[in-house]
Amino acid sequence: MSRYETVIGLEVHVELKTQTKLFCRCATSFGAQPNAHTCPVCLGHPGALPVTNEQAVLLALRAALALQCTIPPVTSFDRKNYFYPDSPKAYQISQFAHPIGRNGVVEVAFGRTTERIRIHQVHLEEDAGKLIHEPYRSLVDLNRAGTPLIEIVTEPDLRSAEHAKMFLEQLRDIILYCGVSDGKMEEGSLRCDANVSLRPIGATTLGTKTEIKNMNSFRAVQGGIAYEVARQTALLDRGERVVQQTRRWDEAQSITIAMRSKEQAQDYRYFADPDLGGIALSDQLITQVRDALPELPLAKRQRYEQQYGLSEYDAASLTAHVALTKLFDEAMAHAADAKTVANVLLGDVCAYANAHDAPLSTLPITGAHIAQLAALLAQGTISQPIAKKVLKQTLQTGEAPNDIVATQGLTQIQDSDAIDALVTQVITAHPQSVADVRSGKTQALGFLVGQVMRASQGKANPALVNELLKKRL
């Protein structure tokens, strides 16, 4: 058992889902030729001026409200001054004095317990460009420069690498639910730095921290922090001190490496950007954005368990993907049976999406379709095997299950006489199997049921088939 308590705070950068950059009309799409998405504004050409992207502010506001932040009456931008070739104006337009949100909180489930992780602030800022370092020179691509980001800064409320990773995953889900960002760590639209320090258990002051950068996956976040905790523990155990510095996670070696000492704080000379006036955030606007917020993952998950009696596993699986919860909620709006809907979604629908490598949101199926299917099953109108067929067709063509069943005559056969006729056919055609069943080889019964089903083209009620077959043998 360690003698130290781990204290972790995260700084999470989230790229906002906008068409254009934060202060100019250049496209935010990537993969283009270097510097193709640049203009006098984002290149910092003499005389060019920034104008704020409305959508970026609204998305940032949505995120801040989802994180339960206090919103100021006026939010404004500040300049953070530093020289580097990826920063075209030699200052980054960011928020310092009046960020869009402060004092928020995220409720996070760590297994069965739920904790409140405090959010220090949420602020808007522009992204930097990219440098490619070569031995004798560096290449500068400013396509990304000026892309809108929000930075979410937590209080140092996390206590383990695992919790940090779980927090980040759930934060990502919130971001996705709100439609604020793609939230893809591998593609850099979600980036996370961690501040890690240790202190003796029971201490109230914070120990010296290190900042870890370059953690490009959830696994890396957990790995980087865990490594750093171990490294600092070893230092302290040896009676050495932790040096305040920035360290880089090296994925290949699975270690952190010191980048630069930060004993002297950088002098960024923040001041209000005089090119940009403040943006008034009226109560009306705040209410409007707050009212439009979707139900957040944790709340949804708890509701699924309580309202619909879903298992913890099913509720968690459904809420792990925005598209799934959308389909589920839509289906439930049609008063479907929750358990059936959950089974259909988590079973065949997910399997189909995986098999075809197609995101759920691109499939032509709707919540109403799922509700129809569930109703058809519940009413016994179609059998389970027919349901699979119908669902597959809906997933392929977008046709409604009710229409498919009607036009193809797939309604389940409930008529005992009709089924009995089929049973007679099968018994006559398979005397050996009949003999096997009678001599106690029960697996032969399954074969005979299958034959009856086949003869009915899958439409016979399987329970009825079973019952009638048994009666005759």
Binding site: H45, G47, Y91, L276
Partner: protein, 494 residues
């Protein structure tokens, strides 16, 4: 041509619209004047003769119905012109050709003007004499041993010398008004936000404005009408619909309440300038205005406030000149840091480096954390002084500068003295209010003296009406520098 060249801009433009006057002739005349006069004045950094003639022929062929149809003009070299060098009179941008036009450049083009070229200035608009141009100083057309003022010295000198029909300048702490006063022309610094800054190379973003330099108040009103109005590319551009400025020039200022702050005619002012201001006061009274002396208690802090605020913003605005994407870069750099540092040290002039240093100091957390914030708060009080006076008065008047144009080389060794010379033009910049300088007399040497007419925010209409009434009641604006007349004489000979 000599006669029409002296006519009001509205008259010349009307003649062009009605095809009584060819744009090509006008432009050829302007280029000939530049050719003769500019060797001594040196107002131009770039003359785009071919471009101007081509544009003139196009306008003649197509006809134009613009408000400023056919008018040859020039623009201070810190306003972005697509395809034409925009140097800010700095080695940093000596060869820089912008990829876009400033909003004002596009508006002037739409109004039918012809751009003759780009005008000299103090480097990055920092200075009040044009001696800080990295290339050469401009001379005052009234006396070529004197400075034209600055930083829009080239703009004021070109108008005074009759090289252009009007010019654009920029004003951060007096850079339109002071050279206008020194060169005996009209210079208007409009309300902050009235004219788009898009394309004006930033010096101090919260203070910078673009404005016209013209021969008369009426001309200023005409040009302002073209320049003013909201621009979606400038987030500090006011969303107002400008009124008709020309219609405001009624000549009637009876009952207008005018304030003359005691602090504007106190110690440090040249007696000749003070006499000219008092004479102007008498003129206003004769025209039926009501004048009182008032007090602006925070005036004495204006210069200190300005140099902290403007330099702080400048230190950040000029950080982009790093040799990476455009502009000058030293050769043979040993790594990035060396490239940055040597490029900026070689390509920025002394005054620019001084202001960057001052601004960096004021913003740095290492020294006086509160310095910049303190200045921003004192700025609020200075603006409140104006509001308090404007609660009771329509207009404030005062001198534009403490003296008329000084001799070249007289002030350059001592930056603080130079800064204090801006004491009468700075407060209006800090408050963001409109202010116009127009000729109101001459000192003992015969050098022009400027009167400043200051109004409420967005009340350019009042400023122009009062200034116009004064101009029409006096003859100061009819005086012309001898050098300008010399051209006319030469033309008559030919």
């Amino acid at each position: 041509m000599g006669h029409i060249w002296d006519a009001p801009l509205a008259h010349i433009a009307r003649s062009v619209r009605q095809k009584e006057l060819s744009v090509t002739e006008l432009v050829a005349h302007a280029l000939a004047r530049i050719d003769t006069v500019d060797r001594r004045v040196r107002a131009f950094l770039t003359v785009d003769g071919d471009g101007a003639l081509a544009r003139a022929r196009l306008l003649d062929a197509q006809g134009t119905d613009g408000v400023l149809a056919g008018l040859p003009m020039a623009i201070k070299d810190n306003i972005s012109t697509r395809g034409i060098k925009t140097t800010c009179a700095s080695k940093m941008l000596e060869h820089f050709v912008p990829a876009y036009d400033a909003t004002v450049v596009a508006r002037l083009a739409d109004a039918g003007t012809v751009l003759l070229g780009k005008l000299n200035m103090d480097e990055f608009a920092m200075g009040g004499s044009n001696e800080n141009s990295a290339f050469f100083p401009t001379h005052n057309p009234w006396d070529v041993t004197c400075v034209p003022g600055g930083s829009s010295g080239g703009s004021a000198a070109a108008v005074a010398a009759g090289e252009v029909l009007f010019a654009l300048g920029s004003d951060t702490g007096g850079s339109i008004r002071q050279p206008a006063a020194y060169c005996g022309v009209v210079g208007l610094k409009p309300t902050y936000g009235l004219i788009s800054r898009y394309g004006l190379v930033s010096f101090a973003s919260s203070l910078d404005v673009i404005g016209p330099l013209t021969r008369t108040v009426e001309d200023a009103a005409l040009v302002l009408g073209v320049l003013a109005g909201h621009d979606a590319r400038d987030a500090t551009s006011a969303s107002i619909t400008p009124p008709s400025y020309v219609e405001a020039l009624t000549g009637d200022i009876r009952g207008v309440r005018i304030a003359l702050p005691r602090e504007y005619v106190a110690e440090g002012i040249d007696p000749d300038v003070r006499d000219a201001v008092f004479a102007a006061r008498a003129v206003f009274e004769r025209l039926g205005a009501h004048i009182d002396e008032v007090s602006m208690p925070h005036n004495e802090y204006a210069v200190a406030t300005y140099y902290i605020v403007a330099s702080s913003e400048a230190s950040s605005n000029l950080a982009r000149y790093d040799g990476v994407r455009y502009g000058m870069r030293v050769d043979d750099a040993q790594g990035l840091q060396d490239m940055y540092t040597r490029t900026r040290s070689v390509a920025f002039g002394e005054e620019v480096q001084r202001r960057i240093m001052l601004g960096t100091y004021a913003l740095s957390s290492g020294f006086e954390r509160a310095f910049y914030g303190q200045a921003q708060k004192v700025r609020t009080l200075i603006a409140q002084d104006f509001r308090a006076v404007f609660d009771q008065y329509d207009i404030i008047i005062g001198p534009t500068a403490p003296t008329a144009a000084f001799a070249m080389g007289a002030h350059t060794s001592d930056p603080l003295t130079m800064y204090l010379n801006d004491t009468y033009s700075i407060p209006m910049s800090l408050a963001g209010v409109p202010a116009l300088s127009l000729p109101c007399g001459a000192d003992a040497r015969g050098m022009p003296v400027g009167l400043q007419v200051i109004g409420k925010p967005f009340a350019e209409v009042d400023v122009l009406r009062v200034a116009h009434a004064f101009e029409q009641a006096t003859t100061h604006h009819l005086r012309r520098p001898a050098l300008r007349d010399a051209y006319a004489a030469k033309e008559a000979d030919a």
